[in-house]
Symmetry: C5
Subunit: 304 residues, 5 copies
């Protein structure tokens, strides 16, 4: 096997699925190994908090808003729950999807009970949806709460999901989040580096992390190194202004990030604006464009 293939296609992808895996991987990373993920699993994770209220465009209240953005903007993949994909993908067949296989609400806080989020459906059911409808489902996603007293359950489900995704020619993205009474600081870079390495041990192709912002390069480099060949996706987090967002992302990409994962910062905008912000994020993430170019895309002035 050539070195190039080996670093992308893990060995648990069976030989007859390696070409399909590589093609999906290339499609979602623009052939450049960097992933712009539009993360849209918050209707379960945050209930309606991210979709209704001050500063949120009314269009965002409708689940289809997510698909419209994913269809119109430039993205690597759109991550959301199976139920929404089954409901809306027929009208948005061009969207590359990642099926987020577990989700929980934010109702029970960590102070009340240790976090636990469990697998909803089998990877095989995802593959069947994909093949039966000729959908562009490129991967699956799963959240692990490292440091939760229920960690053992999620580690097992994660390992099995990653492996089964590979068997079926799909990529696997792990949301690696330290959380629980045992975790005083979820964003400590050394701990995030540990989460990155843990994701690698689990076989993830991509690990979504609360990345250090890249202004302290050395701390972020620890994270990227720990992930090894698993690519680090920097979570977008809560709402912030667009230029600052892109500048932070640019620093993260410069420092070795393998991609970005953005939710609220995209979908709380009206459709056109949201789609153009996808274009901008994609440019920084995949094309490694400078921020001023990306901002022109966001302003709808690509030809400048």
């Amino acid at each position: 096997m050539s070195g190039n293939v080996s670093s992308t296609v893990p060995l648990d992808v069976p030989p007859d699925q390696r070409k399909a895996f590589q093609e999906r991987y290339d499609r979602m990373t623009g052939g450049k190994g960097r992933l712009m993920l539009f993360a849209g699993d918050q209707k379960m994770e945050h209930l309606n908090d991210d979709f209704h209220g001050e500063g949120i465009d009314p269009e965002d209240g409708d689940p289809e808003h997510l698909f419209r953005i994913a269809s119109k903007g430039r993205i690597g993949a759109f991550a959301t729950q199976f139920g929404l994909i089954a409901r809306y993908a027929a009208d948005h067949p061009d969207v590359p999807c990642v099926v987020k296989l577990n989700s929980k609400t934010h109702l029970v806080k960590t102070l009340q009970a240790e976090p636990l989020s469990r697998q909803w459906l089998a990877v095989d059911e995802v593959a069947a949806l994909r093949d039966e409808n000729d959908l562009d489902i490129v991967g699956v996603g799963y959240t692990v709460y490292l440091g939760s007293e229920h960690e053992a359950i999620m580690l097992t489900e994660a390992a099995q999901i990653v492996h089964r995704a590979h068997r079926l020619g799909m990529t696997a993205i792990l949301w690696m989040y330290p959380r629980g009474r045992a975790v005083p600081n979820e964003k400590d870079p050394h701990l995030v580096a540990g989460a990155a390495g843990a994701g690698a041990c689990l076989g993830a192709d991509f690990v979504k992390l609360n990345c250090p912002d890249g202004s302290d390069i050395s701390r972020f480099k620890e994270v990227v190194r720990a992930a090894g060949r698993s690519k680090v996706l920097c979570s977008g987090g809560s709402r912030m202004d667009e230029r600052s967002f892109l500048e932070r992302l640019h620093r993260q990409m410069e420092a070795g990030a393998g991609g970005s994962a953005t939710g609220r910062n995209i979908h709380q905008k009206p459709l056109e604006q949201a789609a153009r912000f996808c274009d901008a994020i994609y440019a920084v993430t995949v094309d490694r464009a400078p921020v001023h170019e990306a901002m022109r895309l966001y302003w709808g002035d690509p030809g400048a």
Copy 2:
């Protein structure tokens, strides 16, 4: 696939079941996409409290009362447990049924332990009952207590039940109820909107909710929007006078509700009266009739 079909038939319904799914969906919604659900799972959920006592007709003490009403009144579907359907449906073969797949008693209160209700039987067993006896089982139902510490168990069972129902050509209704120590106000409209969106993520065709009464349209619209293409069924709740009941329902339907789910307000009445109240609710829910017309149906004066 035509846009019309796609918005009704989710993609996880296999091609050879799509026609059957659409027919069941149309039958239960009167071809109008609105569902009048006669909810009759309270013999487990509330034990005998809803069926015996002051202001409850003695006929209601017999489980068959529910089937007699469902048979005589105009309904979209009647939801109850598998055991009752297996026992009574042979004598009431015309009743369109939804098999409620989980139920718990109300004995253990939330203050004592976090709510948990688990799946009793497989969807495949429902389909076998349906096919073997040529019953008109149009769907399955399941309750999720969002915000319970046992939420993860119910989210997984719900997602699998919805998916398996779709595989077998049936619709899925989720009772989405925020409940537990983490939920101070179960009927907060913003939280109910979150529950609606959560039901959509789980792939539900219908989500049964404690709807805002529609007098504050904006708060209810948040709920309806959050559900997207999953239809919102407004729970009837505790006993109230018929006109007020229908007026509230009318406001809810005007505000975008996808249907109604009524139990005690129907079955605590004697048979004839109960059946006529079904007619009235059906008229408001499915035919979008004005309340005064519906009240005439309830009075047994349809020709007026």
Copy 3:
């Protein structure tokens, strides 16, 4: 399907098992729809407390005593654990048996931990024992502790056991017992009525209950009505004098009970006396004999 059959044979009994089911049902109810159940699961439920001590015949210490009584007396069916049936039924092949599928000891009290009793063996294993040895196993039994914090586990097992018994042509008896911290009064008639209805929802053919004694007919009628077509079996409970026992049972049968379930009041007697008491109970339960006739049977003076 004729109305007569439909009310006895639930629809989840497959067509090719309906005749066998009906025959078993008729055999255990003497063709009259009323069941005299000899309940003999106490060696696990009460350990040796019911079988050794003051006022208990020494013969009762031997497990075979139960089979000898079941063989010699007139009974509808004898309920006990699989292990005992496998060990003794070869020598008592005429005994109609109900395999009690769960049991717990009484060592852990409700104050210490919420009650939980789980399924031991599959219904299919019962059917195999039945068919391989040509035994007269007419049904299976299972206890549900409603109101226990572990209620969800037992509701699911109960629903599945009832259904699987039906698939294999056998009846299902549920011991429906409210118990746990949430249940201050296990014998409250309204609660017992709830338990009866819950048993009906689970699909039970018979529900074994702590029945009101029938002296207050209205309270007992609530129970019987709530059970619907599921027959109510009145538990015999702790030891009492024979005439009082039969009088109470007679009142219960008059008030609509579907049968009786008696353990200690039978097996703590020496064999001959125990067998004659079976005859007496059977007479009141199935033949609806008056108490004085039944007492003559007990005295061994049937011809009087």
Copy 4:
């Protein structure tokens, strides 16, 4: 089926396994229905406490010591874990074995947590080991902690293991031990009688109990009667002098015990002495020899 067979071979042994079951039963009981069990599961149950220290022969530190004794001494069967049998039985192919299917360490005391010991491997895997290597595996063993809050788990596993052993032509021995916060006196004879009956309900061929010492015959007879056709094996317990040991055993056998189960009192001795003590125990247990004869065997003076 003849009465003789029926009392030994339970009906869940399939017809084509009954001869094999009977032969194994006869072999392990010397054709006399009484079992001398050499119990050697303590390396897990007591870790190294029974195998190293004051008064323990150094040979006992090596796991093979157990097999050497079992091979050299006269025993009915040797009970130990699967892993040891797989490792040593090839060199001791003549040893009749019982695979102990669950075990726990004694590290967590009852005061800290309720006792729980779970099944390690399937009975089918035992049968495969037996058949593939032509080993003389005559049965399986399992411990139930009655009165533990985890009792339900162990009752289910026990019932399934007994049944599956019977399906595969092997005997089943249950270690029935009341233990947990709910059990103030584990050796109360009435409670032990309850444990005996519980073992019978679970279908055990033999129940290993903390037997009363037989000096109070009436209390021990309650135990033996409660077990019925399941044979009572008296646990040897902690180290004591040989004559006292044999005298107690003799009383127990006289009082109706079905056998003995001895561990430390055998294996803490050097090989020759241990083997001769097996001979002595076997003589008392199976041959019903008087103690003075057995002591001669122990002294190596059988011809006397």
Copy 5:
């Protein structure tokens, strides 16, 4: 079966896998029955603590560092998680691997909750990875926390993993670690001996232990004896100077250890140095070389 084979190949290895098992066993033990294990599962067990920081070579931050060492140094086998092997083994195809099947983070301390680490993937999935890619996967590994309140879960998984590994022709290594509230001193030699014997009961080919350092020979001999034919691997533990490390190991090997398991003491060094330290450890472990010779290897002066 010859004595030689029987002591190495357990009987649950099926006949058609015995040759493959023996070859793997010989390859990983250099044909001498002693194993030098390079333990590399710490990216999950200790997150990034062992891979970044003071005194740790920067190369160690990259997961591939482990594979480079394993490829360049002389080792018996390299133990790490499935995900890393699937990602890196294509570029390091010569490395003999042991797939560590469970792992947990160190975030939740014993004081907060009892330790639990669960199986991630099936042994069959390991065998498929091995065969599909012609990898040199010689065994699997699993950690048991004896004395944890969750001990029962891990004992069962361990027994099943060992057995399944044997079925598929692979060796099994158990990390036997007493841990939990019930364990005041995890390194007490008598307790470690108990852990060794427990590993033998579970069928392990090798048990990895916190060995006494061998300076008190008698205490270590208890450990080695208790393990019987299961080989004792002495854990390397935290960082120490090379000569002291090798001297301790030499004493342990002299005292009967079956091998060594070293992690941090190898991989925190730069590649060349790490590889040479592997050579040194291998020499002491497998070749039984004296420490001064091993140190020459470490200094890169093998010809001396």
